[in-house]
C-alpha cells in the first residue's frame, strides 16, 4: 500500500486569514477550509459531499482546486485556508477533473430526472448543469446496467440505492448528528453502498427515523414517501416535547406539506426527531373536532372514545354552546361557591392561552383551583428548585450540554423523550470527550454510552445521590469555596450524608459501591458538570427530596451559575414551562407571584379589575378527591386528558363521571372529552399564533400556518368569548395583545414583546425591552440569594413488592409517541412505526413466568388491570417491568399509584407493585380454582395443591386432554404454557 508522508505544517495563531481565490482577496476565519472561505466570499465551488454541519470528508472530489505551492489537485473541503494562500478554482485541469468525475457519477446514476422527487432540487443536476456536461462526451462511457432493489420498508421514506452517489452525507449525518449509526458504508469497490447492519431493510435497523439522512441527501436516493413542494413556509415551533425545536412548516392550499428544522435555531440547529419530522399529519386527522358538541339528554358518561360521538353528542353553534357553558358555570358558582369549580389548563397550548385560562379561573370564576399537567411531571422540580435556588426552572441552556466535561443523566431516557437534547449528549460524549454517568434502573441508549451506569432500584435516588455526596465529602472533593461563599446548610447536609456510606447505598439501591465511588470521583473531578433529569426523579412520593438531592450535588461541586454546568430538569410538554410561568398553578399568579402575597394580589386585582382570592387552590391530583367528596361540582378542562394521564384511572373516571358539569376544550375527542357535557373544538398548534416557552426558558413564537378545520377556534379566543359571555370582558384582538398584558404584569416576562421574538426568542428572566434575556441563571448569585442545601433522608417508595404483586412497574415514554397519544397516535407515520403498547419484562422473569416475546399479559395492581403484549428485553432489570403511558388500549395509569409527594402533590407514577400473568391464564383463573392458584403464584409447587386423584393423574401425565375434562376447554396458548409448566414440575 502506498502512503504519503507528512509535512510539518506551521500554524499561525490568527483570528482570520487572508488568502487569494481566483485573484480575489478573501478573508476567512482561522480554521475555515478553503471551500468555506470561497463560499463565504461568493465564489462557487461545486461539491456533493460537503455539508456545513458535517465533518470534512473529501470523497466526491468535485471541490478540487489548485493551490500554488501544493502538489496536484487539492480538495478544498479538507484543506485549511492559510494566510497568503493562492487558490485557483477554475483551471483547465480542475475543470477537466470535475467533468470526468461528474461523468462517472452520471454514468452510474439511474433514474429519470422528470419523475424523480428531487428534480429541480437535486445537487447532482445542479452541478451537471454548472459544469456543462456534454452528452457527446458523456456517451463515451459505459453506462451502468445494475439495478438495485429499493428499500421501501419505512413508512415515511424510501431508499433508492440506484440514485445514491455515495457522498455518505446520510451516513455521516446518522453518525455525527444523530449519533445513531443505523447506516454505514458497506461492501467494497463498485459494490460499496449505504447499508444497515446486515443489509436489512431500514425499518429493521436501529434507525430512529429522525430523517437527518433525508435532509442531507443531495439526490433522490433518500426521499420522503409523500413529497409535495411547499408553496410557502412559516417558521414556528414544534408542538411535541419541551425541547422546543424551531421548524419551518411548508404549506400548500390549507395543508401542511413539509417540515424542516430551522438551521439557525440555537435549540435544534436544524435537527428534528421522528415526531418533529414526520408527526404533523395529526393536524389533518379526520378525528379533529370541528363543531361545538353538546351531550344529548340522558346519555351516560361512559362512551368509549372511538365510539360514534354523534350517538352521544349533538352539534351546536358556538353561541349555543358557550351560552350553555356560561350559564351552567355561573349557576354552579352561584350555588356552590367559586371553589366548586376546577379548571385544568394545558402545557400543550400557548403562554397567552394559559394566561387567559388562569385569569378566567381567578378573575371570572373567582377560584385558584387552576392547575395543569405540570403537576404530574415537574411539580416536584418547581417546589424543590424554588427552595434550593429561588427559581423553578432549568438553570442553563441546551447549548451548554455541549460545553460540559461531564453529564450526569438521572431518571431520564433522554434520547427517546427529548431526542434533540439526547443527541447533544451523544455528540458531547462521542466527539467532545465528555464523560457520561447514567443513573437509571433501565438500560437506555445513553447508558450504553456511559462511563458508569448506575442501575439503581426505582425510588432509591436519594440514597444513591447521598452516597455519591458522601464519597465526595469523604474524599474532600467538594468545592469548599463555592459552598462557603454561595450556599447555606452545608453542615446539615454533611451530617446527613455521612451516614450514607457506599455500602449502605449498595444495600438500598443495588448499585455496587465501587460504581458509586467511581461515579462520585468522576463527577467531582469534572471541571464543568451538568445534571439532566426527568420524570425518573420527579414522579415519586419523594420527588421533591429527589430534586433537592440533585440540587445538593450540584452546589456541593460548584456546578451552578457557570457555562457548561447546571440544573437541568427536562420539561416534558412543549409548553409546560410556559404554563407554569403563566400561573396555571393553584398557588401562584403569572411569574410565580404567590396568590397569598398581598402586593401581588393587589397588582393583579387592579389590572384585571376584580377582587382575587388569597388562598391557593387545589392541585389537579387533589381535585379528583374533591369531586369524589362532592366538594367540586364542575370542571373546565382545556387541552388536558386526565383520563389517560392521571394515576389510578378507575378513580379518576369515577370522579369525572360524577361531575355535575364538565366542559372539555380540545382538538380531539380525548378519553376525557367523551365524559364531557360540552366539547369545544380548539385550533391546533399550526392554526394559531402565540408563544411557547421551552425547557431552557426560551420564549419562542408560534406562527399560524393553516386555518383551523370547520369552526374550531384558538383556545385564547374561546376562553375570551366565554369570559365575555360570563360578563367579564376579555378584550383581546390577538395573542399579541395578551402577551403585552403578560409582559406588563410578569416581571420575568417584562421584556417579552412579539417584535423581539422573530429570531430565536428570548430566555427569561427578561425584565424589559433592553434585557437580552438570561441564558444562565444564578450567575454570581442565586435567585434566592444563597443556595440552600437540604439535608434529605431516604424514604422508600409508597408501594413495594409483595407476594401478590411481585414486580415493580415503572412507566415512561417511547420515542415515537408523546404523552397520552392524542396527537402522535393520530400520526400515520408515528403510529405505523410504533403501533401499540407492550410491557417490557426481563428475560429472567419471563422464564419464571413461562412466557415468550409477544405473549399477551394481564398486568394488575391493587388499583386495576390491563392486558398488553410483552416485549422480553434485558433493557429492564429483573423484577422490573416497564410500560409507556401512550396506549389507550392498555392505559398503564389504570395501575399506577396515586400516592402523592406531600409537598408537590405529584403522584408516584414510577413505582407500582404489579403482578403479570399470561392473559389467557388470568382469564381462565376467573372461574377455575386450579388456574386461579396457578395465576396467583405460578411458581408454587403443584404438589402443594389440594387436588383430586383424577386431577392429579391428569396433571402427572401432562395430558392436556384429560386436564380439559375437569378444567374445561383451554386456549391453545394456555395449553402450550401448561405443558411447559408441568414439565418443570418435580413431583
Amino acid at each position: 500500500m502506498v502512503t504519503k508522508e507528512p509535512t510539518v505544517l506551521e500554524e499561525k495563531k490568527l483570528d482570520t486569514v487572508t488568502l487569494t481565490i481566483d485573484g480575489k482577496k478573501v478573508e476567512a476565519a482561522n480554521g475555515a477550509t478553503v471551500l468555506e472561505a470561497a463560499l463565504d466570499a461568493g465564489i462557487y465551488i461545486p461539491t456533493l459531499c460537503y455539508a456545513p454541519d458535517l465533518k470534512p470528508y473529501g470523497a466526491c472530489r468535485l471541490c478540487i482546486v489548485e493551490i500554488e505551492g501544493m502538489r496536484g489537485l487539492v480538495t478544498s473541503c479538507t484543506t485549511r485556508a492559510t494566510d497568503g494562500m493562492v487558490v485557483h478554482t477554475e483551471t483547465p485541469r480542475v475543470s477537466q477533473s470535475r467533468r470526468t468525475t461528474m461523468e462517472l457519477i452520471m454514468a452510474n446514476h439511474q433514474g429519470d430526472c422528470l419523475t424523480c422527487a428531487k428534480n429541480q432540487q437535486c445537487e447532482l443536476q445542479k452541478i451537471a448543469r454548472y459544469l456543462g456536461i456534454e452528452q457527446e462526451h458523456f456517451d463515451r462511457l459505459r453506462k451502468s446496467t445494475r439495478v438495485l432493489p429499493i428499500d421501501t420498508s419505512h413508512p415515511a421514506f424510501n431508499r433508492d440505492p440506484n440514485k445514491c452517489i455515495l457522498c455518505a452525507k446520510c451516513v455521516r449525518a446518522c453518525h455525527e448528528i444523530a449519533c445513531v449509526g443505523a447506516i454505514d458504508l458497506a461492501f467494497r469497490g463498485y459494490d460499496a453502498k449505504v447499508s444497515t447492519f446486515g443489509d436489512k431493510p431500514i425499518l429493521e435497523s436501529i434507525c430512529e427515523s429522525c430523517g437527518e439522512c433525508i435532509e442531507h441527501c443531495p439526490t433522490g436516493a433518500l426521499v420522503p414517501k409523500k413529497v409535495k413542494q411547499a408553496a410557502s413556509e412559516v417558521k414556528t415551533v414544534c408542538p411535541y416535547c419541551g425541547v422546543g425545536c424551531s421548524i419551518y412548516l411548508g404549506t400548500r392550499g390549507n395543508k401542511i406539506v413539509s417540515v424542516r428544522g430551522d438551521k439557525e435555531s440555537p435549540v435544534n440547529k436544524g435537527g428534528l426527531c421522528v415526531k418533529g419530522r414526520f408527526g404533523f399529519d395529526f393536524v389533518e386527522h379526520p378525528d379533529r373536532l370541528t363543531m361545538p358538541l353538546v351531550r344529548k339528554d340522558g346519555r351516560a358518561k361512559d362512551v368509549k372514545v372511538n365510539g360514534n360521538l354523534r350517538d352521544v353528542f349533538r352539534e351546536a353553534s358556538w353561541d349555543e354552546a358557550l351560552d350553555l357553558v356560561a350559564e351552567k358555570l355561573s349557576a354552579i358558582k352561584e350555588e356552590h361557591g367559586p371553589d366548586s369549580i376546577g379548571v385544568l389548563s394545558s402545557a400543550k397550548f400557548t403562554n397567552e392561552e394559559n394566561y387567559l385560562v388562569q385569569k378566567f379561573a381567578r378573575a371570572v370564576l373567582g377560584t385558584n383551583n387552576v392547575d395543569h399537567c405540570a403537576r404530574l411531571c415537574h411539580a416536584s422540580t418547581v417546589v424543590a428548585a424554588l427552595a434550593a435556588f429561588g427559581d423553578g426552572a432549568m438553570s442553563n441552556s441546551i447549548a451548554d450540554f455541549a460545553k460540559a466535561d461531564l453529564l450526569l443523566v438521572i431518571g431520564s431516557n433522554t434520547t427517546e423523550c427529548h431526542p434533540i437534547i439526547g443527541r447533544t449528549v451523544r455528540q458531547s460524549v462521542k466527539f467532545n470527550g465528555a464523560k457520561l454517568i447514567v443513573a437509571d434502573p433501565r438500560s437506555t441508549e445513553l447508558s450504553k454510552l456511559a462511563d458508569v451506569h448506575l442501575r439503581h432500584r426505582p425510588g432509591t435516588d436519594v440514597a444513591l445521590l447521598n452516597a455519591i455526596m458522601h464519597v465526595i465529602i469523604d474524599e474532600e472533593l467538594h468545592e469548599k469555596r463555592f459552598i462557603e461563599e454561595r450556599t447555606e446548610g452545608f453542615q446539615e447536609l454533611a451530617a446527613t450524608v455521612r451516614r450514607y456510606t457506599p455500602e449502605m447505598a449498595e444495600e438500598i439501591t443495588g448499585v455496587s459501591k465501587s460504581d458509586i465511588v467511581q461515579a462520585a470521583r468522576l463527577f467531582a473531578g469534572a471541571g464543568k458538570a451538568a445534571i439532566l433529569y426527568g420524570m425518573g426523579i420527579t414522579q415519586h412520593t419523594t420527588g421533591t427530596d429527589n430534586v433537592k438531592s440533585v440540587a445538593n450535588l450540584l452546589m456541593l461541586t460548584g456546578n451552578m451559575g457557570r457555562e457548561g454546568t447546571g440544573f437541568s430538569p427536562l420539561r416534558g410538554q412543549n409548553n409546560v414551562q410556559g404554563a407554569c410561568d403563566m400561573g396555571a398553578l393553584p398557588n401562584v399568579f403569572p411569574g410565580y407571584q404567590r396568590v397569598d402575597n398581598p402586593d401581588a394580589r393587589l397588582k393583579f386585582e387592579s389590572a384585571w379589575g376584580c377582587s382575587l382570592y388569597d388562598k391557593p387552590g387545589l392541585p389537579v391530583t387533589e381535585m379528583m378527591g374533591a369531586v369524589s367528596q362532592g366538594k367540586m361540582k364542575a370542571m373546565y378542562v382545556v387541552g388536558e386528558n386526565p383520563m389517560m394521564s392521571e394515576p389510578y384511572l378507575a378513580h379518576v373516571k369515577k370522579a369525572m363521571s360524577k361531575l355535575e358539569f364538565l366542559v372539555v376544550q380540545d382538538v380531539f375527542p380525548t378519553e376525557t372529552a367523551v365524559l364531557a357535557d360540552v366539547i369545544l373544538p380548539a385550533a391546533a398548534f399550526a392554526e394559531k399564533n402565540g408563544t411557547f416557552t421551552n425547557t431552557e426558558r426560551r420564549i419562542q413564537k408560534l406562527n399560524k400556518a393553516v386555518e383551523p378545520p370547520g369552526e374550531a377556534r384558538p383556545d385564547w379566543r374561546i376562553v375570551s368569548d366565554l369570559a365575555n359571555k360570563m360578563g367579564h370582558p376579555f378584550d383581546y384582538e390577538s395573542a399579541q395583545d395578551v402577551m403585552e398584558e403578560i409582559a406588563s404584569l410578569t416581571p420575568i416576562y417584562g421584556g417579552i414583546h412579539y417584535d423581539r421574538l422573530d429570531n430565536y426568542g428570548l430566555q427569561w428572566p427578561c425584565v424589559d425591552r433592553l434585557d437580552p434575556g438570561t441564558p444562565i441563571l444564578h450567575e454570581g448569585k442565586f435567585t434566592r440569594g444563597l443556595g440552600k442545601f437540604h439535608a434529605v433522608e431516604y424514604q422508600p417508595p409508597a408501594e413495594s413488592v409483595s407476594e401478590d404483586y411481585p414486580l415493580i412497574l415503572t412507566t415512561g415514554r417511547v420515542l415515537e409517541h408523546w404523552h397520552t397519544g392524542s396527537m402522535s397516535r393520530r400520526s400515520e407515520v408515528l403510529n405505523t412505526l410504533n403501533p401499540g403498547g407492550s410491557v417490557d419484562i426481563h428475560p429472567n422473569d419471563a422464564l419464571k413466568m413461562g412466557i415468550v416475546d409477544g405473549d399477551l399479559l394481564s398486568i394488575a395492581s391493587e388499583r386495576g388491570k390491563i392486558e398488553t403484549p410483552v416485549r422480553i428485553t434485558d433493557e429492564t432489570a429483573p423484577g422490573l417491568a416497564f410500560m409507556a403511558f401512550h396506549w389507550r388500549e392498555s392505559p398503564v395509569n389504570a395501575l399506577t399509584n396515586d400516592a402523592l409527594d406531600p409537598a408537590a402533590k405529584i403522584p408516584e407514577f414510577k413505582v407500582t407493585a404489579v403482578k403479570a400473568v399470561l392473559a389467557v391464564l388470568d382469564r381462565a383463573a376467573q372461574d377455575n380454582e386450579f388456574f386461579a392458584r396457578l395465576a396467583a403464584n405460578p411458581v408454587e409447587a403443584l404438589k402443594e395443591y389440594d387436588l383430586t386423584a383424577e386431577e392429579k393423574a391428569a396433571i402427572l401425565s401432562g395430558d392436556v386432554r384429560r386436564i380439559e375434562k375437569w378444567a374445561g376447554k383451554l386456549d391453545e396458548r394456555l395449553k402450550t404454557w401448561l405443558v411447559a409448566r408441568l414439565q418443570q414440575e418435580s413431583w
Binding site: 500500500m1 502506498v2 509535512t7 473529501g58 466526491c60 472530489r61 452517489i165 467494497r188 460499496a192
Partner: protein, 1016 residues
C-alpha cells in the same frame, strides 16, 4: 547470517535437522515430516542430532525444505517417506541424499549446499537474516543470534534523539512502498506534542502474491518486535499495535508467542530492561481489506470503524490513532532496525544506492524459474533479480515485462531490465517499489489481460469513498473488458488514459492514486497490444477468452481453423481436413512442410506436456489427401476488372488466388525469375520443401484462372496501368542480401546467402570450398549452412554475434543443422576479411551481451582485445535480406528499406497500388506472407468494387459438438517424427523429415484438447 551462529547450537559436534514450518511448507505436511524425522532420529539413537523447525526460507516452490546443519545441506521437496532415508543415509551413514538436492534450473546441476544455490548466492539477506535459520517460536533461538542486543544498546546507552539520528543517518526509507525517510517520520512523531502516542506496525500485507511480511512474522517475529520497541522508545509511545490480516493465522500465532516470551524476558511491558521505559503491544487482526494497508484506513480499522482513508493533513504523526500522534512502519522497515542499530548507520548506508539505502525484499513470482522471496541490495538491476536469482524464464519463453509494486504498480518492458531497483528509477519508469511484489511476465502474457487482472483487484478493494476511485476504476475495467472481448473502440485507449489520470489525480489515498498504474504502464509500453485487440480482434498472446476460441487458430496469421482439421485427421477424413485448411490458405501442403507454426507455441496442450505437432499433422493431411481440397471448382463470374501482381511468392500467389477465384477478377502475376514461387522456390531448400509439393499447389492457383508470367521483370507501374490493370499488388519480397559491413567482404569468396540459396534452388551449379563460414543466426543462415553441407563442404561454421538464446532461427532447425555437423560459434562477430595463401581469412572478435536493446534482447558488445582469425574457403553472409524496389515506381520507402503502406489496407501512397509480404514487413515467414496476401486480396477486391469477403466454405460444416470434458489429461508427449539419419541427409537434397505414419498422426490428433469447443 549473524556472526554468532545460526541459533541452533552448532557447538559440540551437535548436528541439527531444520525443517521449514512456514505457511507454504506446513501446507505440504512439514509438521508431520518433522515428527517423522524426530522419530527416525530417536530410533537411530542419534543423541547428538536435534530436530527443530524454522520459519520460511522464501523458496517455497522447493518446499518442504530441510536443512542439515552445520554442513548446510539443502534438501528440497522433502516428502514424509524421505525422513527415514535422510536420517539413515545422511546422519547415520554420512551419505547425503543426492536425489533431494536442489537442481539448478539453468545448469540442471544438483547442488548440495544452501550457500551454493544461486537463488541465495546473489541475495543479501538483512531483513530476512534469520528466516529459515532460527526457531521462530523460541525467543532463545533469536537471542542466540544476537537478538535484542540492539534494544539493550538503545535502552542502556542512547537517547530517543540519538536513536532517531542513527536511523536518519542510515538512510532507511519506509519499506511499505512510499519510501519516506523512516528517521524523519519518527522525528515528526517524537516532536508532536502529547504524552499519549502510538506505535503501529503495518502488517496488513494485501498485495496478491506478496508474502514477505508474513514470512518475516512467521520466521522471525522477535525482530519485528525488537524494531517496534526501539521505534516506540524513539517516538515516546507506550502502546503499540501490530495490524495483521487474519488470513495469516500462523504469523499471528507466532507474534503472540513472541510477545508472551518477550514479556517474560522483560523486553516488553513495564520498565523494559530496567530502563523505566514501558511498552505494550497488541495484535489487531484485520479482516483482509487491501485498503487497510493505507495508514489512515488502518487506524480507522483499529478504532473499530470501517477501514476507510481520511484526508491528510493532519498526518498520523500529528493526529493518528484515537487522534493521538502515531507512527506507522511496515514490517520490513521495523525488521531492518535491529540491524541498523546493531551494525551502525554507516555500515547500513554503505549498502544500496545513493538515494535508496539497504536492501529490498521482493516476492518474485510469475514466469520465472525460481519464485520466492528475494532480498537484494537496493539498486540491483531487474535483470539480475529475474535472470540470475530468478533463473530466467522457464520453458524457453521470452521475457515480456515485469510488474513491480503489487496491483498498484506498473508493467515494465524488457528495455528496463537494466534499470536499478530503487524508489526513484521505478517511479520514473511508471511503476513503483510498492511493498515488493515482482511478477515476471513472459510472451504468453497478454498485457490487456494483465492490466485487467490488477485493476479488477484494486477495483474490488476500493473502499468506495472517492468517486474517481470507486467508479473510475470500474469504468476502466468495463472498458478493458470490452477491449478483451473485442468490443473496444480505438478511442477507448485514450479514454483509458484520461480516466486513469483522473483517478490518479482525483483520489484521496494511495489505492486510487496508483490503481491505474497497471493500465497506464501497459498502454505506455504495449499500446500495440491494445490496438491489436481493438483493430484486429487479435490477442497476440492468445489469452483473452472473449477473442480467442482456440489459441492455435488465433495465433495463426491466416487464422486457419486448426482444431477442426485436427479432429478430421483423428477421424481419418484427410480430404476434409485439407479443405478446412484451404478455407483460409491456398498452400496447405507447403505450410505442412515449412510453416514455422506459431500456433504450436500457444497450444494449451503444451502446458500439460508438449504442444500438438500441428504442422506435422497438416503435412500428414496434405500428403494423404486424395484431392486438393477444393472440391468442385467454383470460380466467381468475371468482374471485368484486372489486377496485376508483381511477384509470385506466397503473398503474391495468395492474393492472386483469392482475387481470381472469389473476386472474379482477371489476374496476371509477373515473376522476374524463371520459375514461379518466389522465396518458396528460391529461398527454401529442397530438403525442406520438395519441388513437386510446391508445383502441385501452384497448379491449383493456375486452375482458378491466374496467369503467371515468369522471367518478366516489372520496372514501372505506369506500364502496367497502360496495359489496363485496375489494381496492382506489389509483392516482390526481400531478395537482396544485406552486407555484413566489414572490410574485404566484396571478394568473390564471400557470397550472399540469398543468392546462394536461389542459385541452388534454380539448379545453377554452385561451388563452395571445403571450409565454409556462415555469418548470421537466422533461418537463412541455418539453410545456408545445411545447404553448404549438402554441396560438399566438410567444415561448416556458423558465427553468430549473440548467444544461442537470442538466435532467431527455429530451434528444431538449429538442432538439425548441428546433427548434420554444422559447428556453431556464438558471441563472435566478423571484423575483417582478406585472402591469404589461397584461403580466405576472417578476423573475428568475441562479443559479450550488454544492455538490453529495443527488441528486448541484450545488445552484443565487442570484448576488447579478443580478436582472432580463422581461415575459410567460402564465407556466406546471412545477416539479413532487404527488398529491391525499383526507384522508378515512385513509392515511399521507410527507414528499414521496406515499402511504406497503410497497415490496415496495405495501400501504398499511390492510388490503386497495394503492397505486402516481405517487401513491407522485411523478411518474415511463409504464413505471414500468406496472411498479407489475404489482406491484400480483401483490400484490392474492395478497391475493385467487390465485397472484400474472401472466406469460403469448402468443408462440410461441423456438427455441433459437446464441450470437451474437463478431465485430468495424462501426460504423453508428441510422437518422435522419423527423419533421415544425419549421415544420409547431407548426401543430397532429399526431404529430411519423413512425416507421421497414419497411426502416429491419429494418435497425435487425439491429444488435441479441443479448446475451441470449451464453453465460455
Amino acid at each position: 547470517m549473524s556472526a554468532k551462529g545460526n541459533g541452533n547450537g552448532t557447538s559440540d559436534g551437535q548436528r541439527t535437522v531444520l525443517i521449514c514450518q512456514g505457511t507454504g511448507c506446513t501446507s505440504s505436511n512439514s509438521e508431520q515430516i518433522r515428527v517423522a524425522l524426530e522419530a527416525e532420529v530417536e530410533r537411530a539413537g542419534l543423541a547428538d542430532v536435534k530436530v527443530d523447525f524454522t520459519g520460511c526460507h522464501g523458496f517455497c516452490q522447493q518446499g518442504p525444505i530441510v536443512v542439515v546443519e552445520p554442513e548446510g545441506t539443502f534438501y528440497t521437496h522433502v516428502q514424509l517417506e524421505d525422513a527415514e532415508e535422510i536420517v539413515r543415509s545422511h546422519l547415520v551413514e554420512g551419505k547425503p541424499v543426492e536425489r533431494l538436492f536442489y537442481r539448478d534450473p539453468v545448469t540442471d546441476e544438483a547442488i548440495a549446499r544452501y550457500s551454493d544455490v544461486v537463488f541465495y548466492k546473489k541475495q543479501k539477506r538483512l531483513i530476512l537474516r534469520n528466516c529459515g535459520h532460527i526457531n521462530p517460536e523460541n525467543i532463545d533461538s533469536y537471542i542466540s543470534v544476537g537478538g535484542y542486543e540492539a534494544l539493550n544498546k538503545v535502552l542502556s546507552s542512547m537517547s530517543p534523539e540519538q536513536v532517531i539520528d542513527e536511523v536518519k543517518k542510515s538512510g532507511l526509507r519506509g519499506r511499505g512502498g512510499a519510501g519516506f525517510s523512516t528517521g524523519q517520520k519518527w522525528e515528526f512523531c517524537y516532536r508532536a506534542p502529547g504524552n499519549e502516542k502510538y506505535m503501529i506496525c503495518n502488517a496488513d500485507e494485501g498485495d496478491p502474491g506478496a508474502f514477505m511480511d508474513r514470512s518475516i512474522m512467521e520466521g522471525d517475529p522477535n525482530t519485528v518486535l525488537e524494531g517496534m520497541i526501539i521505534a516506540a522508545y524513539a517516538i515516546g509511545a507506550s502502546e503499540g499495535y501490530i495490524y495483521c490480516r487474519a488470513e495469516y493465522p500462523l504469523a499471528i500465532k507466532r507474534l503472540y508467542i513472541a510477545i508472551e516470551q518477550a514479556e517474560e524476558r522483560g523486553f516488553l511491558g513495564k520498565d523494559i530492561l530496567g530502563s523505566g521505559f514501558n511498552f505494550a503491544v497488541h495484535v489487531k487482526e484485520g479482516a483482509g481489506a487491501f485498503v487497510c494497508g493505507e495508514e489512515t484506513a488502518l487506524m480507522a480499522s483499529i478504532e473499530g470503524k470501517r477501514g476507510m482513508p481520511r484526508p491528510r493533513p493532519p498526518f498520523p504523526a500529528q493526529s493518528g490513532l484515537w487522534e493521538k500522534p502515531t507512527n506507522i512502519n511496515n514490517v520490513k522497515t521495523l525488521a531492518s532496525i535491529p540491524v541498523i542499530i546493531g551494525q551502525g548507520a554507516e555500515w547500513y548506508s554503505s549498502i544500496g544506492t545513493d538515494k535508496s539505502k539497504g536492501t529490498a525484499v521482493f516476492a518474485l513470482t510469475g514466469k520465472v524459474a525460481n519464485s520466492g522471496l528475494v532480498e537484494v541490495p537496493m539498486g540491483m538491476p531487474l535483470r539480475e533479480i529475474i535472470f540470475d536469482i530468478g533463473g530466467g524464464i522457464p520453458d524457453g519463453k521470452r521475457f515480456k515485462a515485469v510488474q513491480t509494486g503489487g496491483p498498484s504498480g506498473g508493467c515494465l518492458p524488457a528495455s528496463f531490465l537494466d534499470s536499478p531497483v530503487e524508489y526513484e528509477s521505478l517511479a520514473a519508469a511508471g511503476s513503483i517499489m510498492g511493498s515488493g511484489g515482482m511478477v515476471v511476465l513472459d510472451e504468453d502474457t497478454c498485457m490487456v489481460d494483465v492490466a485487467k487482472y490488477f485493476l479488477s483487484f484494486t477495483q474490488l478493494e476500493s473502499c468506495g469513498k472517492c468517486i474517481p476511485c470507486r467508479w473510475g476504476t470500474k469504468q476502466m475495467l468495463d472498458i478493458l473488458e470490452d477491449i478483451a472481448n473485442g468490443k473496444g473502440q480505438i478511442e477507448d485507449i485514450d479514454l483509458l488514459i484520461e480516466l486513469g489520470e483522473a483517478v490518479k489525480a482525483g483520489s484521496l489515498c494511495g489505492l486510487g492514486q496508483t490503481a491505474p498504474n497497471p493500465v497506464l504502464s501497459t498502454i505506455r509500453y504495449f499500446r500495440d497490444e491494445y490496438e491489436s485487440h481493438i483493430k484486429w480482434l487479435h490477442c497476440p498472446a492468445a489469452v483473452c477468452k472473449g477473442l480467442v476460441k482456440a489459441p492455435c487458430s488465433h495465433t495463426c496469421p491466416a487464422g486457419v481453423d486448426v482444431p477442426r482439421y485436427i479432429r478430421l485427421i483423428a477421424e481419418k477424413r484427410y480430404d476434409e481436413a485439407v479443405a478446412v485448411i484451404r478455407e483460409r490458405i491456398p498452400f496447405p501442403s507447403v505450410c505442412g512442410y515449412v510453416c514455422f507454426h506459431p500456433c504450436e507455441t500457444k497450444c494449451r496442450r503444451g502446458q500439460i506436456d508438449e504442444p500438438i505437432a500441428i504442422r506435422a499433422l497438416k503435412r500428414f493431411a496434405a500428403d494423404h489427401a486424395r484431392t486438393d481440397g477444393l472440391g468442385e471448382l467454383r470460380v466467381a463470374p468475371p468482374s471485368g476488372k484486372r489486377a496485376a501482381i508483381i511477384g509470385s511468392g506466397p503473398a503474391g500467389l495468395t492474393a492472386a488466388y483469392y482475387l481470381a477465384k472469389i473476386g472474379g477478377h482477371e489476374v496476371t502475376v509477373f515473376e522476374a525469375l524463371p520459375e514461379e514461387g518466389g522465396m518458396l522456390r528460391a529461398g527454401i531448400p529442397r530438403y525442406r520443401l520438395p519441388e513437386e509439393v510446391l508445383d502441385a499447389e501452384i497448379d491449383v492457383i493456375r486452375k482458378v484462372g491466374v496467369e503467371i508470367r515468369t522471367n518478366t521483370r516489372v520496372e514501372s507501374l505506369d506500364m502496367l496501368r497502360e496495359q489496363g490493370y485496375d489494381a496492382i499488388f506489389l509483392a516482390v519480397g526481400a531478395h537482396a542480401g544485406v552486407k555484413m559491413g566489414v572490410a574485404g567482404e566484396e571478394i568473390s569468396e564471400v557470397v550472399d546467402c540469398v543468392s546462394l540459396l536461389r542459385d541452388v534452388s534454380l539448379g545453377k551449379k554452385v561451388k563452395l570450398g571445403e571450409k565454409v563460414a556462415v555469418v548470421g543466426g537466422g533461418n537463412a543462415a541455418i539453410d545456408a549452412s545445411r545447404t553448404a553441407r549438402r554441396l560438399g563442404a566438410k567444415e561448416v561454421t556458423i558465427l553468430y554475434r549473440r548467444s544461442r538464446d537470442e538466435m532467431p532461427a527455429a530451434k528444431e532447425e538449429v538442432e538439425e543443422a548441428m546433427e548434420e555437423g554444422v559447428d556453431m560459434q556464438f558471441l563472435v562477430a566478423p571484423k575483417r576479411i582478406w585472402r591469404q595463401n589461397g584461403h580466405v581469412r576472417m578476423e573475428c572478435i568475441r562479443m559479450e551481451l550488454g544492455k538490453t536493446d529495443s527488441s528486448g534482447r541484450r545488445r552484443p558488445e565487442p570484448v576488447a582485445d579478443s580478436e582472432f582469425d580463422r581461415a575459410f574457403d567460402t564465407i556466406i553472409a546471412a545477416v539479413g535480406q532487404a527488398p529491391q524496389i525499383p526507384g522508378e515506381m515512385g513509392l515511399a520507402i521507410d527507414k528499414r528499406g521496406t515499402l511504406h503502406v497503410d497497415l490496415d489496407t496495405l495501400a501504398t501512397d499511390v492510388e490503386g497500388v497495394f503492397a505486402g509480404g516481405d517487401v513491407v514487413s522485411g523478411p518474415a515467414s511463409v504464413i505471414e506472407a500468406i496472411a498479407a496476401g489475404r489482406q491484400a486480396a480483401i483490400s484490392i477486391d474492395k478497391y475493385l468494387g467487390g465485397s472484400g469477403v474472401i472466406d469460403e466454405v469448402l468443408a462440410q460444416p461441423e456438427e455441433p459438438q459437446a464441450p470437451p470434458e474437463m478431465e485430468e489429461e495424462e501426460e504423453r508427449g508428441r510422437p518422435e517424427m522419423q527423419s533421415l539419419p544425419p549421415g544420409e541427409r547431407t548426401k543430397d537434397f532429399s526431404v529430411v523429415e519423413c512425416g507421421f505414419t497414419e497411426a502416429e498422426a491419429i494418435e497425435e490428433a487425439r491429444r488435441c484438447l479441443k479448446c475451441d469447443l470449451e464453453e465460455e
